[in-house]
Symmetry: C2
Subunit: 207 residues, 2 copies
Amino acid sequence: MKIQKIPEASIVRMSVYSRYLSRLDQKGIVTTSSGEIADGVGVSPAQVRKDLAYFGEFGTRGVGYNVKDLHHHVLKILGLTNEWPVVLVGAGNLGTALCVYRGFRERGFKIVGVLDSDPKKHGQPLGDLVILPMDKMEEIIKENDVKMGIVTVPSDFAQDIVNLLVKYGVKAILNFAPRAITVPEDVELRNVDLAVNLEVLTFKLSS
Amino acid sequence: MKIQKIPEASIVRMSVYSRYLSRLDQKGIVTTSSGEIADGVGVSPAQVRKDLAYFGEFGTRGVGYNVKDLHHHVLKILGLTNEWPVVLVGAGNLGTALCVYRGFRERGFKIVGVLDSDPKKHGQPLGDLVILPMDKMEEIIKENDVKMGIVTVPSDFAQDIVNLLVKYGVKAILNFAPRAITVPEDVELRNVDLAVNLEVLTFKLSS
DNA sequence: GACTGTGAAGCCATTCACAGCT
DNA sequence: AGCTGTGAATGGCTTCACAGTC
């Protein structure tokens, strides 16, 4: 295998494969194939093989893949073999929902701090945490060695919050505010725009 | 302009442009350019022009675009000139958060019904709605002429719920369950996988 | 001079098709 | 015979570069 750039879409699919492999493993299935995975997640078998091939040779020709083995490899590729501490900023409706979202914990993400600028919220319990004021950000990040942040503050404040997170050493940010945000080169940013997803649907319904 | 297939990525960007144009309009700005829009949303000017060109000629050479005018055109293209009634299924943490999410209402999406299978939740207020049992689905959809649904139920039930929505006439579904879901050809489906977004970040942090 | 609209070129991702292994 | 791994072919999106317009 030559070294080459890996498409972001492949990484997204790797994450999806890993969830499917975890299900196969739970069902006690020992061996699988690119065809089975493809059916299970809704892509082509060639796509599955190509994606996996970016990272190594995990299968046996004529046989397929060992489920446990492949699952472990994929988790390792995604960096999910250890728990990730995460700080969440913005304890509004969306923030509180994400804070207790089981899908994150199941995949090894642990929210270790929830911050909000509203003094009325400070001290309020949220899951097994307590909402803290913004000036606790540095402490939370440093004490827990936090590298990831989730931003669910109103759009107007998103860039400022992101700047703060970066200042205190966060290296990857998931932003839910529908605004263009900039970060330094060594920081990873992903945006999730919930309304956009509905609007793609209305476009298709209308055309 | 020739007829041609429009990339989905272009539609996503159109939605982003429309939000930026709405901000420019609010600020009272009358004229803009592909360069300004590009800077504002973080893409290239050529990309902006190409995207818009899929749908028509909205600008004036040497001048730029009229903000109000372009904004209106983009909203019309996205099918956002009328309010869309939406039904939401699954009043867990994520579902309740989305139900009162301002970002949806601001863009013309109105949740007209929240359903959950848990009898303990029935009758509980949620925003200005009340959580209803699943067997009210048909009534809600028919009475409000609902064409869009949001699914925030546990993964194991997502396909069943989607099947029900489709059965009662919903034509576009936004699914938050991390499972492969299938729908008939005439139904649009989009998946939002929140954990995947964090996992793409961990991949990048780890590599 | 400034900015749009667009064919052509370049680039990137997916699919194909088959050699290689069990 | 069955399935992986992969170079080659295809298809699609983005960028380039410039003619057209004000």
